[in-house]
């Protein structure tokens, strides 16, 4: 059926900032969809507040609005653009929720805007628990016994009927936010209360526990002709009970017979047909491992994280085709883009095993609760492809970039068997390593099945790996064993551990005997048809299908899984580099392991190797392709970390050389450089003996910033103000090996400034500088960044430019460089130099219009900035103010402290742009999900050192008509200054307390700067968590509070009395 000609302009709603449960996968699907619409000749209007995405590039859509995704702003866009239709199914849950909210305002009817893809009624049927259940009953599809509740009492009543354990699932929340498993009454009450608060419709589903069932997913598609297909089915290694986003998942299913496969396929197709979805849909099912009984768990009537995974796992681009289907095209007339010869109405056949592993943030959130349940906690994921489950699992493990390249973690070797078994009883993020360790100690499959309920099929595979490990270990330098190990997916690192030698010698040994992998194509059809896609994975087999061309080629290393501190920004830079390479006439080859991103879309590069980003795997590709060199500066720390090993093995690093990278990262060399260039930096010292720390800190002078020089398991950086706090810190980091020194730096308060520049080795161009709202001490990724700087003098700016030039030239930077400054007492200090892409590249590129990553790539290839048409130095500032506001996922991570500090905690970012700083901030804050109250009450609980500064804030809130609440110390201090304040009790006190007023919704803003100090569960912590769990803005920096105050001030009117009568009238 031909595409529709009655519509022309289409509004696409993106998914906004990245949070746990809604991440880079929507950049991938959104970008694909927009391109797909444009390809068909439609005009695309895009609304998305996330600047870090490829999707918001001006080439992706005809018009891009980086405005907050709220009804207010979307209505403005609709009125202005008057689109014919909206496509809401590509922007995740946010996109769907926005479409429903827009419908309710009546704007769609007013402007005659049609919804493409999935009707609102279908969205409602799938999303509303009650409607969904009755639809399932109508279709005769089984759902677990459950009850919709609107209150805790109803939940308890239901529990009385069917007993424990139960699962609570709040309605309309992302990634299972607020849900959880309950084993008793108290847990049920707690989780239900929390879930009801988080559900926008105050509704939860309390469900019979079917944990232990196999969790199976089907990705299905349907067009308006009612043709429906399954793109991919997936089986979770972790049975029902762990959120699929947190589970290890294989594609296709491994333990289903054809009858089971078809039974679940039929159910999935029946559902997509009943919902009349035109596009993609995800169906999650639970299958009893010992009967044909199954249940429908959930349906997502849109593209999702799973659909992105399915697309990469099969090669079948779901989002791209979903967009075409929304335009009225049908599956049987769309060409399968992978083969180029067959049609999209087709169910991909895999001839490999795909394993997806979640990447968790617990290396950053050491105190976070690591147990896994129905609420997703992973920030990202990796995918690995192999010709056996073992191979793909181990490739996945080493893709995670978590410090191990095998199913082995030293820490578990110190545990007793009982401890291991105890640990396995509740699933957590390291379960797979514990299982491996248990097998090493001789545990049986049956025992571990009893404890974990993981299917024996998967357990047997892990056991096989451990057996092989022992065998390899017992036969040092045996080539046959080595071959077997490589076929099973062992890394050289693992073999080197077992053989007590170094990786390079294993690698040499293999090279000499020709034990190298071959590359196979991902072609959707198991080689049945000839395919055009340059999408490959490695395996140890006979035939290599990756044909090396005669062209000059460059390999770009991606950034691996999304994690805190290394987000989608690096994928953005990677993609731009690849595109620039292609434009410059090179064959651009990319390696990456992240299934969620645009960079692993096979249509982006000339060749895609979906592989782990370890030295070994990268070398294999280099040996085959023999590129001119490798670009590592866009792939974040993951790629940078490879530079040394690559150089050691004789590979050319293109752009900034290894020495420069090393100078910036090595503390002594860096200090030396700063001295040589006569640049100021905070005084600091590294100490090896812990007892020296106090002396050094006193010598430097408090406050000081302390951190381990070598970060193990993400143990933190902290700012300490006195000897006691330092002692507490040292005690906490006791487990850190004494071989690594502790770094103690002077903590300088002041305005932080950040510069990103492109350098061609000689000249530099700085598209813009960004000032941070929060003072130094808050991680730059967690600060609100403002362009252009608002509080910085011209001379300071000039100095920053000069310093940047000096450093860039001295390091002969070719490509990108990022420098962080602090202006302390009118002097410019350098805090950090990163000779690589930073997380502000996409933001800065977008607001200044300078395609920084592309430009940097041209410099890397040898072009000069002058030839590219850029002057040397800082580009003129633009009049519009732009802010980058961090977004956190605290609601998903219980027991994580929300206090901002030197350790990064945000998962994403939103942008706000407008004529003034206040307007831009307003937009940015709204876009980040914060609600800015115009009236109400503020709770103040601040540390002693902040009290003086807090008074100004308290006074202004009072002037704006807000009521003030404070705990004893703060309230006395405030009252003394003549500001009316209501005292509330501390945590645990009788009567009205800090917690009760938050719980009862009496306050709209919480300002809390109490450091956690010695106890991890301090009062400050509890106040902050309470605020997060009730969706109340909790500001832990007075600078943020001041900024918000300014925003409120500029958007409201105050009532103030005529002040003192002027003297002129009285006399």
């Amino acid at each position: 059926m031909p595409k529709r000609t009655d519509i022309n302009k289409i509004l696409v709603i993106g998914s906004g900032p990245i949070v746990i449960g809604q991440a880079a996968e929507f950049d991938y699907s959104g970008t694909q969809a927009c391109q797909s619409l444009k390809e068909e000749g439609y005009q695309v209007i895009l609304a998305n507040s996330n600047p870090a995405t490829i999707m918001t590039d001006d080439t992706v859509a005809d018009t891009v609005y980086m405005e907050p995704l709220t009804t207010d702003f979307l209505i403005k866009i609709i009125r202005k653009e008057q689109p014919d239709a909206i496509l809401p199914t590509l922007g995740g849950q946010t996109g769907l929720n926005m479409a429903m909210a827009l419908e309710q305002t009546g704007i769609l009817e007013e402007y005659d805007v049609e919804l493409l893809g999935t009707s609102l009624s279908a969205i409602r049927k799938a999303e509303d628990r009650e409607v969904f259940r009755s639809l399932m009953h109508e279709l005769g599809e089984p759902v677990p016994e459950s009850q919709i509740v609107h209150s805790v009492e109803e939940a308890l009543e239901f529990a009385g009927e069917i007993g424990f354990p139960l699962i609570v699932r709040p309605a309309y929340t992302l990634g299972g936010t607020g849900g959880g498993m309950c084993y008793d009454k108290d847990e049920l009450m707690d989780i239900t209360r929390n879930g009801l608060a988080l559900s926008p419709v105050t509704q939860c589903l309390v469900e019979k526990n079917i944990s232990g069932f196999k969790e199976i997913e089907y990705e299905v598609m349907r067009d308006k002709q009612d043709q429906a297909i399954v793109v991919c089915n997936m089986e979770n290694v972790d049975p029902v009970g762990v959120h699929t986003g947190d589970s290890i998942v294989t594609a296709p299913s491994q333990t289903l017979s054809d009858r089971e496969y078809q039974m679940l396929r039929n159910a999935s197709l029946k559902i997509i047909r009943a919902l009349e979805i035109e596009g993609g849909c995800n169906v999650q099912l639970a299958l009893d491992p010992s009967s044909f009984q199954y249940y429908i768990i959930e349906v997502n009537p849109r593209v999702s994280r799973s659909s992105a995974l399915a697309s990469k796992a099969t090669g079948y681009p779901i989002a791209k085709l979903a967009a075409k289907i929304a335009l009225g095209l049908t599956l049987d007339e769309i060409i399968n883009p992978i083969t180029g010869t067959t049609y999209a109405c087709y169910e991909p056949a895999l001839d490999y095993v795909v394993t997806k592993l979640p990447r968790f943030p617990f290396d950053k959130f050491v105190s976070g609760n690591r147990s896994l349940g129905t609420q997703m906690k992973a920030t990202g994921e990796v995918m690995a492809v192999g010709r056996s489950f073992e191979e793909s699992l181990l490739k996945g493990i080493r893709s995670l970039d978590i410090g191990t390249e095998e199913l082995w973690m030293e820490k578990w070797t110190y545990k007793t068997m009982d401890e291991l078994i105890e640990c396995l009883k509740k699933p957590d993020d390291e379960r797979i390593f514990v299982i491996a360790e248990a097998f090493r100690r001789g545990c049986t499959v049956t025992e571990l099945f009893e404890t974990t309920k993981i299917d024996p099929f998967f357990l047997t595979k892990i056991q096989r790996l451990i057996k092989l490990e022992k065998d390899v270990s017992a036969h040092k330098n045996d080539m046959e064993r080595l071959m077997e190990a490589k076929k099973a997916g062992f890394s050289d690192t693992q073999v080197s551990r077992l053989w007590e030698t170094d990786v390079d010698s294993i690698y040499e040994m293999r090279k000499q005997s020709g034990l190298l992998p071959v590359y196979k194509m991902v072609d959707t059809c198991a080689a049945e048809f000839e395919s055009e896609t340059p999408y490959f994975y490695s395996t140890f087999e006979e035939e290599n299908e990756s044909i090396v061309s005669e062209r000059q080629k460059v390999l770009v290393i991606g950034s691996g899984p999304i994690r805190i501190g290394q987000g989608i920004e690096f994928d953005y830079a990677t993609v731009h580099s690849v595109l620039a390479l292609k434009q410059a006439g090179y064959e651009a080859i990319i390696m990456n392991s992240n299934p969620e991103t645009v960079s692993t879309d096979f249509s982006v590069s000339d060749k895609l190797y979906f592989e782990p980003l370890t030295l070994e795997d990268v070398m294999h590709v280099i040996e085959l392709e023999k590129p001119e060199g490798v670009i590592v500066q866009f792939g974040g720390q993951t790629a940078i970390n490879l530079a040394e090993g690559l150089q050691r093995r004789g590979v050319a690093i293109l752009g900034t050389n290894l020495e420069a990278i090393d100078t910036a990262e090595d503390r002594d060399k860096f200090e030396h450089l700063m001295n040589e260039l006569d640049i100021l930096q905070p005084q600091g010292k590294s100490v090896r003996q812990l007892d020296q720390a106090v002396a050094v800190a006193e010598q430097i002078g408090y406050p000081v910033l302390v951190r381990p020089s070598y970060v193990i398991g993400g143990s933190q950086m902290e700012i300490v103000y006195n000897n006691d706090e330092l002692a507490a810190y040292l005690k906490k980091s006791n487990h850190i090996k004494h071989t690594h020194p502790i770094l103690i730096d002077k903590y300088l308060t002041g305005i932080e400034l950040e510069v990103d520049a492109v350098c061609d080795g000689e000249n530099i161009v700085i598209p813009g500088m960004m000032e941070h709202i929060e003072r130094a001490g808050v991680h730059s990724g967690d600060s609100i960044a403002v362009y252009p700087p608002q509080r910085i003098s011209d001379s300071a700016k000039r100095e920053c430019v000069e310093i940047t030039m000096k450093i860039a030239r001295r390091l002969s930077v070719k490509g990108l460089i990022n420098i962080q400054f602090v202006i302390h007492e009118d002097k410019v200090y350098v805090l950090e130099v990163n000779p690589r892409a930073s997380r502000t590249i996409p933001f800065l590129s977008k607001i200044t219009g300078v395609p920084m990553a592309a430009l940097a790539t041209r410099c890397i290839l040898g072009e000069s900035l002058a030839d590219a048409g850029f002057p040397n130095g800082l580009l003129p500032e633009l009049p519009q103010v732009s802010v980058k506001v961090p977004v956190f996922s605290f609601a998903k991570l219980r027991s994580v402290d929300t206090m901002l500090g030197p350790e990064m905690k945000s998962t994403g970012e939103a942008i706000g742009r407008d004529k003034t700083l206040e307007k831009a901030l307003y937009k940015g804050l709204i876009a980040s999900g914060l609600s800015i109250p115009q009236e109400g009450a503020v709770l103040l609980t601040v540390a002693d050192k902040d009290k003086q500064e807090m008074i100004e804030i308290a006074r202004r809130f009072h002037m704006l008509g807000f009521r003030l609440y404070a705990t004893e110390g703060t309230s006395e201090f405030t009252a003394e200054k003549g500001i009316p304040v209501q005292k509330v009790g501390k945590v645990g006190a009788a009567g009205e307390t800090v917690l009760s007023i938050i719980e009862e919704g009496k306050v709209q803003v919480v300002i809390n700067t109490l450091t956690s100090g010695k106890q991890p569960r301090s009062d400050g912590f509890r106040i902050r968590r309470e605020a997060v769990e009730h969706g109340i803005a909790c500001l832990t920096s007075l600078d943020t509070a001041m900024a918000i105050l300014n925003v409120i001030d500029s958007t409201t009117f105050t009532a103030s009395p005529v002040s003192e009568k002027r003297a002129v009238f009285t006399t």
Partner: protein, 372 residues
């Protein structure tokens, strides 16, 4: 485990590990892209004389159960997999794939680059191959392969020897067994049919004596031109008995109606083959297993109407007779393994019988009225 090898007629050699039986055997090497359903594939009589390569690398994961067989005695000549699972996991599993193949004297080969083999078959077409021990030289293996006279009696090997009845209270159906999959029988019994399964050589006259309301022509192995008796039988019954043909049955109807068949380069074998129904315009997923096809051009001048097409290569997938109550499909509506999207064809067959009978009655009435 024992090292064994596959040698193809072009001399390519694949060295792997043997499982199942260790006898030496040759066969036509084909590949199937289904990711599940190895038990059904193994026991599908249409694979008689063939060595099947499973493109999905992990086979045997859910073991062998007592239910999912498509015949009692498998006639497949061999199975090639990347990895055979020796510790299956599924509550229905009774034994491992290896044990099952041993018990049925079928050799298997594991641990070879099955994708390489698949690409070879895709590019060169189906080839003959020999399963033999690793020490057999390629020359000797090729000699053996060339000496071999291809079998032509596939159908005779797998068809039932004697007719038998699967009683029911519904329509009387004669099911001609050319190598019938149990799935066809299951779909008919599900619809309460009274079924008489007859051997492939049963004559039209003998079939008529069973007073069938409809005749079902089953799937089966090999070249349809090897079963000329069946073509003659079909010619005789097709004018006045509703007929439904599947796979080989479909090809035989085509031959009976004057169309022609030919061999495909490497056939269609898998569970994901899109077929477009030309009357409804809709495409559905089908399960397929055939090496031969009805030549599209040969339909001109016959009374057959092309009703369904393979979406990807445009080959003939469905036919209907323009005058007689007969229709057929190249694919497997009984699924097992594969998608169950076309079960309704069995209903259509039964509906055809009703339509045909009421038409006959009308004709009778009108004949009688003419007589009066």
């Amino acid at each position: 485990m024992q090292k064994r090898q596959l040698v193809l007629e072009d001399g390519t050699r694949f060295l792997g590990t043997g499982f199942g039986s260790d006898r030496e055997i040759s066969g036509e090497v084909v590949f199937n892209t289904g990711m599940t359903g190895y038990q059904e594939i193994l026991s599908d009589p249409s694979y008689c004389g063939q060595i099947v390569t499973m493109t999905y690398p992990l086979i045997g994961n859910y073991g062998i159960n007592r239910d999912d067989f498509e015949t009692i005695t498998p006639s497949i000549h061999g199975l090639i997999v990347k990895e055979v699972c020796d510790l299956p996991s599924n509550y229905r599993s009774e034994e491992t794939l290896d044990r099952f193949l041993k018990a049925n004297d079928i050799p298997g080969l594991a641990g070879i680059d099955t994708r390489k083999l698949t690409r070879l078959i895709r590019n060169h077409g189906t080839m003959k191959g020999l399963f033999t021990s690793a020490d057999c030289s390629v020359e000797r293996a090729m000699q053996l392969l060339h000496q071999e006279i291809g079998i032509t009696n596939h159908v005779e090997r797998v068809s039932t020897v004697k007719p038998y009845v699967v009683p029911g209270r519904g329509r009387r159906i004669v099911l001609v067994d050319f190598g019938m999959k149990h799935g066809i029988l299951r779909e008919l019994t599900k619809r309460n049919c009274h079924i008489t399964v007859v051997p492939h050589h049963y004559s039209a006259e003998k079939i008529r004596r069973l007073k069938p309301e409809g005749v079902m022509l089953s799937n089966g192995p090999g070249d349809p031109k090897y079963v000329p008796d069946a073509v003659r039988m079909i010619e005789e019954i097709i004018p006045d008995i509703p007929v439904f043909g599947i796979c080989l049955g479909h090809q035989l109807i085509a031959l009976a109606c004057g169309a022609d068949t030919e061999k495909l380069r490497f056939g269609h074998r898998g569970a994901n083959h899109p077929v477009k129904d030309l009357t409804t315009g809709k495409t559905v997923m089908t399960s397929q297993n055939h090496g031969y096809t009805v030549t599209k051009e040969s339909l001109a001048g016959t009374e057959l109407e092309l009703t369904q097409l393979a979406l990807n290569d445009g080959t003939v997938e469905g036919l209907a007779h323009k005058r007689y109550p007969a229709f057929s499909v190249q694919y497997h509506p009984e699924s097992s393994p594969g998608p169950e999207d076309t079960y309704q064809l069995f209903d259509r067959f039964l509906a055809n019988i009703i339509t045909h009978q009421s038409e006959e009655k009308r004709e009778e009435v009108s004949c009688r009225s003419v007589q009066i």
